[in-house]
Symmetry: C2
Subunit: 354 residues, 2 copies
C-alpha cells in the first residue's frame, strides 16, 4: 500500500480541510497517510471526524454541502509532530533554514527517509518547491524540476509545464520540460501519443522571444528522431483548443498564462452573476440557469484536478492550491497516487536519458 | 477636422467591413478619411453604400443586425490607390520591402506626408507595426514603441503595455512603457491619476524574472520622485481586479497574457453554450438567459474597444483586430480620434522627457 506524507498545516483552511481531504482520499484510493503538523491540533481534527463519522463537502460544485462518511478506524495513518509552519508570505530560503521543524520540511523528510512515496502540501508554493528540491534531490539527468499543471478544455485536458518553478530558463531546460511533460501527459493524465508545443507569440517558426526561437529547433530535432510529437508554437489563445497536449513555457510565461486563465474565468463568472442580478426577471432566469452554470463551474474548477506536480524530483511532490478545500485536497492526493501507480519518475528518467 | 488614413485592404473582412466601419466612424465622429487600397474595389463598396444609404451591423452584440444610415455625400473622404496587399502569413520585413505599393505602407505615408493625423489598419499586426515604425519614426526620447491594449474589467478598464511589439525588452524599455501607458490611460482612457504595476509572478518585491527584478527599483524610484504611482508587482490573476490601471510587461509576456485572456473567455462561453444545449429544459432556459449573456458578451467584446495603439511613434497608429467587423473598425477609428483629440503624443513626450 502506498503511503502519502501530508503537510497538514499548509493552506488557508489548514489543518481542518487538509486532514479531512487526506482522510477522504486515503479511504477512497486505499492509501496510507503520514499526517505532519502540530500533533494536538491534528489529533483534535481526527478525533472530531472519528466521533461524528463524516465530513461535509460541496464536491467542487460551489453548491450544497453533502455528508461524506469517513471510517477513520479503517484508515492506516500516523501523525508526525512538527511544531512550526511556514506562512504564505515568508521568504522561502530563510524560513526553510530557520524553521528546522516546519511541517513542509518534515513531510518531505518522510519521503526522503523512505516511509512515504509522495508528499502533498497546500502551503507556500515556494517553500514546498524548495523543500522538495533540497530534501528529495533530482532524478538522474534532470537539470531543473518544473511544475506541471493540468488545465481543462472543451475536449481533453492540456498540460502546461513549467507553471512557475523556474523564473529563468534555458532552451535545454525547456526541452527537458517537454520530455517530463510528455511522460506526465501519457502516464498520469492518460493521453496517448501526446503532442508538444511551445507557448509563443505568433504561430510560425521564428516567432517568439530568443528563448523560444532557440528551443524550437531542438524540439524539431527530437521530433525528427521520433522521440516527441512536436506541434510547433502555440499562441495564448490556442492553449485551450488542443493544438498541443503538452505546452512548454519558461516558468515566468507559464505562471502568467496560468494565473491569467484563473483571473479571466473569475471575472467572467462574476460578470455573469452580476448581469443576472440586474433585475427581477434576471434573478428568476439566473435561478433557473444555476444548475447549468454550476456544471460549468465544476468542469473548470481547479479543485477537481487536484494539485500541480513538481516533476523531476526523486519521489512525488504535489503542490496543492493555497485555498484548497477538503475536496481539492482529496484530488491532490489522487494526483500523488496516480503519479505513484504509473511510476511517473521512471518514465521521466527514460524520456530524459534515452 | 482631423483626417484618418485607413488601410482598407487589411483584415479578414476587408475591404467591405473596413470601408463600412470607416464611413460609419467618419459620420459619427466627424472626421475626414483617406481610404487606401485597390481603387476599383473601394469605390464599388462606397457606391454600394451610397446607393442603398445604410450598412448593417450587430453593434457588437452578436445578435440581430440593424441598419445604420450612412450619408456618404456628407462625408469628407478621398480614395488613394494602392495595388498590393500584405497578407496575414507573410514575412513582415521582406513583404514591406518587396511590396512597394502595399495599402499599409501607403496608409502610413498619408500620415508621414502630413495629409492625415492617424492611420488605422486591421491587416497583419507585424506589417502595421513595421510600416508605422519605419514610416513615422519615434517620438523624441522613445527607445522602442509598444502596443497599448485596453481590457475590460468589472469596474474600469485596465491598460496592458506592451501587448506584443517587442519580443525582448530591457528594464529601461519597461520604464518607458510605464510612462507611455500612464499618458494613454490618463489622456485617452480617462483614468485620473493612473497607477502602474509590473506583470509578475508573486506579489512581493524580488519576485519575478531578472527583467522584472531589475525594473522594479527603477519604477519605485520614479514613484519616489512623484512621477508615477507605482503599485508594485501584479500577478496574472490580478490583471482584472484593478490593482493597477496600467500593467507593464515585456511584449512576450504581455502578448501571452492578452491571448490567454481571449482563449479563456472563448472557451468559457463555448462551455456555457454547450451546457445549455445539453437537454430540452436547458435549451429553454438558455433561450431566456440569452439577453443577459449577450450583455456580458458586449461588455467583454474587444470590438467595443476598437484597436490597440502603437505608442511611441510620431503620429497615431491604431492596430485593429484581424477579424474586425464594421463595428470594430468604427471603434478603432474612434481610438485614433481620441488619440488625436487628447494629443497623446505630446503627453507621451512630456512623460518621457521631463
Amino acid at each position: 500500500m502506498a503511503r502519502i506524507a501530508i503537510d497538514a498545516m499548509g493552506g488557508d483552511y489548514a489543518p481542518r480541510a487538509i486532514v479531512e481531504g487526506a482522510l477522504w482520499a486515503a479511504q477512497e484510493y486505499n492509501v496510507g497517510l503520514e499526517l505532519v503538523g502540530r500533533k494536538d491540533e491534528l489529533e483534535a481534527e481526527i478525533n472530531r471526524i472519528k466521533s461524528i463519522g463524516y465530513i461535509l463537502s460541496d464536491c467542487g460544485t460551489k453548491g450544497h454541502q453533502r455528508k461524506i462518511h469517513i471510517d477513520v478506524d479503517k484508515i492506516d495513518y500516523t501523525v508526525t509532530h512538527a511544531s512550526e509552519v511556514i506562512g504564505m508570505g515568508e521568504a522561502v530560503g530563510q524560513s526553510i533554514r530557520r524553521k528546522k521543524d516546519s511541517s513542509i520540511v518534515a513531510s518531505v523528510k518522510a519521503v526522503a527517509d523512505g516511509r512515504c512515496e509522495a508528499v502533498v502540501s497546500a502551503g507556500s508554493t515556494g517553500a514546498a518547491m524548495a523543500a522538495s528540491l533540497f530534501g528529495l534531490g533530482r532524478i538522474h539527468g534532470v537539470t531543473r524540476p518544473a511544475i506541471a499543471v493540468t488545465l481543462p478544455t472543451m475536449k481533453k485536458p492540456v498540460v502546461l509545464i513549467d507553471g512557475g518553478a523556474n523564473s529563468e530558463s534555458t532552451p535545454e531546460m525547456l526541452v527537458q520540460f517537454a520530455q517530463m511533460g510528455v511522460a506526465y501527459a501519457k502516464h498520469v493524465v492518460g493521453i496517448e501519443n501526446p503532442t508538444v508545443g511551445i507557448l509563443s507569440i505568433g504561430e510560425e517558426e521564428g516567432k517568439g522571444n530568443a528563448l523560444v526561437k532557440d528551443t524550437y529547433p531542438l524540439l524539431k530535432q527530437l521530433n525528427e528522431e521520433g522521440k516527441i510529437n512536436f506541434a510547433g508554437n502555440i499562441e495564448g489563445k490556442e492553449l485551450f483548443i488542443n493544438k498541443a497536449d503538452v505546452v512548454v513555457a519558461d516558468g515566468f510565461a507559464g505562471n502568467v498564462a496560468l494565473k491569467v486563465t484563473e483571473g479571466t474565468a473569475s471575472m467572467l463568472l462574476k460578470m455573469i452573476s452580476s448581469e443576472f442580478k440586474s433585475d427581477f426577471v434576471g434573478c428568476l432566469i439566473g435561478l433557473m440557469a444555476k444548475p447549468f452554470l454550476r456544471r460549468i463551474l465544476k468542469r473548470i474548477n481547479w479543485e477537481g484536478f487536484g494539485g500541480m506536480l513538481l516533476l523531476g524530483v526523486k519521489g512525488i511532490s504535489v503542490i496543492a492550491h493555497g485555498r484548497s478545500s477538503s475536496y481539492a485536497m482529496k484530488n491532490a492526493v489522487r494526483a500523488a497516487v496516480e503519479g505513484i501507480n504509473n511510476d511517473i519518475n521512471a518514465e521521466i528518467g527514460k524520456n530524459i536519458n534515452e
